[in-house]
Symmetry: C2
Subunit: 108 residues, 2 copies
């Protein structure tokens, strides 16, 4: 069994040269909201959910992005409602949020 | 299928208050070595291996630590030889390196 039931990684990468990056698209706000909502729902911790900072996940064309392991589900999101839906339906409910899935061919 | 066959996350967390953290234990050197060796072996990229920076993975008592998804294999390591063995045997060979496994009860 996985140490965390769901381990979520948010790309918080910020490029020094001013190129587009997830950090420019409020990725940190999304990370903070996800972490707070997971904690408030009592989901955080071993056997539960871990919301993690990450560097560039190299699927920048679909950014901002996050990935949930061990299931390997990739999401792209726009606003707080998207994050809330990922927490409530996927991290709590165990259901994939189809409308926010990152298309499989999206890369750097 | 997972976008990456093996997605490796290294904790590179550094605590501002001087408390013990993975960054104090050469986690960045390990990350750099892993990334370079994966690239040199031609394993990097979609369908292959991604070596990623991460924030605190919250299993600090066993640090420095890294986790490989989607399999959810957690490692602790000491030196460059350990990293090379993880790359060669696990990321290239698909075999778990038993001697470097983080014990399941190790937490924060």
């Amino acid at each position: 069994m996985s140490y965390y039931k769901h381990h979520v990684f948010f790309c918080l990468n910020e490029r020094a040269n001013g190129e587009a990056s997830c950090a420019q698209h409020a990725a940190k706000d999304a990370f903070d909201r996800c972490k707070a909502r997971v904690k408030a729902a009592g989901l955080a911790g071993p056997g539960g959910v871990r919301v993690n900072k990450a560097g560039c996940l190299d699927r920048c064309a679909g950014g901002p992005v996050a990935v949930v392991y061990p299931e390997g589900t990739w999401y792209t999101f726009v606003d707080a409602d998207d994050i809330d839906e990922i927490v409530d339906r996927h991290l709590q409910g165990g259901e994939v949020v189809e409308r926010l899935l990152l298309p499989p061919d999206v890369g750097r």
